[in-house]
């Protein structure tokens, strides 16, 4: 049963990825805090706050920025529960795992002594806390941005900020293809799993995987070629033209300036 459950969990995690981007559709049109601002302003603001987090050298200020990012998320109607599920637990586990040894390896003032020359130092604790807090804060900020902004507005915002159109188109296509790949892979997995009875042997599983992978690849390459033809057929000649963004409103400028000031303050106080 364990081998089949690997397949199932792979399917589930793929579906999860698909589901994730769906939520952003609902939130991105809702009238909450972050949604009020032009996507460019959102991009720059979140980036400034992330920058402030990385510059911050004091644990107390870092905690303040974390609290701020949570409030921003809540004000934009991102539920705390979804933050916990998506970001905080994962980051805590991953980063925690990575940071854990630092408690013991960083030399300095000893706080807790364990038998066998292992000890937790004050410096180690501070380091681990700062690392985890930084990652949690920046992850919260990024997730809030993505959940509150429709993908196409994000791309258009980047275009207005100067990223070349070709890259924007490639990014958009990649995003599209990822879901196509996932859908096709899902379909292939599900049809295989439902057709096999009982536990699959190692060899069978490997050959199923390689066959499926080959089919997936084939379909993907064909699709890529067809997309190229479809682009040509509608007039693409090498220089892509995309829709532009509207002008910034006073509201947007004010928001941007305040966040900028806040970030600068945090960096100054937290240095």
């Amino acid at each position: 049963m364990s081998r089949n459950s690997f397949l199932f969990s792979t399917i589930r995690s793929f579906n999860d990825a698909v589901a994730r981007s769906l939520v952003s559709e609902r939130l991105s049109t809702a009238p909450y805090l972050l949604q009020q601002f032009d996507p460019r302003v959102r991009l720059i603001s979140i980036f400034l706050l992330i920058l402030a987090t990385v510059f911050c050298r004091r644990l107390s200020i870092l905690t303040f920025v974390f609290a701020l990012s949570v409030m921003l998320a809540i004000a934009s109607h991102v539920s705390v529960w979804s933050l916990v599920k998506r970001v905080w637990v994962i980051v805590f586990v991953f980063t925690g795992l990575i940071a854990l040894p630092a408690l013991f390896t960083t030399s300095g003032e000893i706080l807790v002594h364990f038998p066998g020359s292992l000890s937790i130092t004050r410096q180690g604790l501070r380091t681990a806390l700062m690392l985890v807090l930084r990652v949690e804060t920046t992850a919260t900020l990024t997730t809030t941005l993505v959940l509150c902004t429709a993908w196409n507005r994000l791309l258009r915002g980047l275009r207005s900020l100067g990223i070349p159109s070709e890259l924007i188109v490639i990014a958009a296509m990649t995003h599209r293809y990822i879901f196509l790949l996932i859908e096709t892979a899902n379909q292939m997995f599900e049809s295989r799993v439902s057709r096999t009875v009982g536990v699959l042997g190692w060899r069978q599983e490997r050959s199923i995987t390689t066959q499926s992978a080959a089919v997936l690849l084939s379909k993907s390459m064909d699709l890529s070629h067809e997309v190229y033809l479809a682009m040509l057929a509608r007039g693409f000649r090498g220089d892509i033209r995309l829709l532009g963004e509207q002008r910034l409103r006073v509201w947007d400028c004010l928001g941007l300036i305040s966040i900028g000031a806040l970030a600068a303050l945090v960096i100054w106080v937290g240095r």
């Binding site: 429709a150 196409n152 791309l155 479809a230 040509l232 057929a233 000649r237 829709l243």
Partner: protein, 267 residues
């Protein structure tokens, strides 16, 4: 007045595998033709040649007397007009859905035609109303059903108001209702000056969408005539693998005769 499309002795192969051989064809403006053929008969390749998406290994393809070659495809002015006036709808709608939302997808063509943004927006809204997909404007492609995808794909080419429509298996994978909506659309073009070439192997819709038909087999045209004539020629249809004969039963009676699996009749 040269014919709209003229193919002379056209051969085409994919990496040595022949797809079209010594094809001769003339298509006049305003004709509405159906290209009949089983899978692999070369229908898709022919449509792509007509749309200058690939070029013949031998022979020539002309549009209004102009040669369509790799070289002529470099001439910007010519190609810009050509691309606006001709449209190809691919069999796989996913090939035509590479933008983040439906609105942007439909806007892609007009934007590449260098129209102003105001004009683009107006045209896109018009087309979405026409196709009944205005409610899908902000949807990403992966949240569209099969039928919706096809409609968006159609809209993305119709927005340019093309004179020539090349449709590759347009009703494959469509449910009956969407299929009939599509047929209504094509019938709406019947008395306009639009040239519509539909490639399909679905015999049951053929009479509804075109008056003349071409039958393809192994990369050449083996027959042409009015659709009703062709449909009555069971021998031809059997030979070109458009229908088949095998023992089957309905109403409890077992028999065998040529048929395609989309019909019902009484015995």
């Amino acid at each position: 007045m040269p014919p709209l499309f003229e193919l002379q002795d056209v051969s085409f192969d994919y990496d040595g595998v022949p797809a079209l051989s010594r094809l001769n064809l003339q298509i006049e403006r305003g004709q509405q033709i159906v290209l009949l053929g089983a899978n692999g008969s070369g229908k898709s390749t022919l449509l792509r040649l007509l749309n200058a998406l690939c070029f013949p290994s031998l022979g020539s393809v002309r549009f209004e007397g102009n040669l369509l070659t790799r070289e002529s495809s470099q001439r910007d002015e010519f190609m810009l007009t050509f691309r606006r006036r001709t449209a190809l709808v691919f069999q796989n709608p996913d090939a035509q859905l590479f933008n983040p939302t439906v609105f942007e997808e439909i806007a892609f063509g007009p934007l590449q035609m260098q129209w102003s943004e105001a004009e683009v927006t107006r045209r896109v809204n018009e087309t979405m109303d026409l196709m009944g997909i205005s409610h899908l404007r902000g949807r990403p492609p992966y949240r569209l059903s099969g039928g919706e995808k096809k409609r968006v794909a159609l809209a993305s080419v119709l927005v340019l108001d093309p004179e020539v429509l090349l449709l590759d298996e347009p009703t494959a994978t469509l449910d009956p209702r969407t299929q009939s909506q599509f047929i209504d659309l094509v019938q709406g073009w019947r008395d306009t000056s639009k040239t519509v070439i539909t490639a399909t192997h679905q015999l049951d819709i053929v009479e509804d969408i075109a008056r003349s038909a071409l039958v393809m087999e192994a990369g050449t045209v083996v027959a042409s005539g009015s659709t009703s004539e062709i449909l009555m020629n069971s021998e031809l249809l059997l030979k070109t693998n458009l229908i088949h004969a095998h023992r089957h039963s309905h109403n409890g009676i077992v028999h065998s005769h040529p048929h395609s699996h989309r019909h019902s009749h009484q015995h």
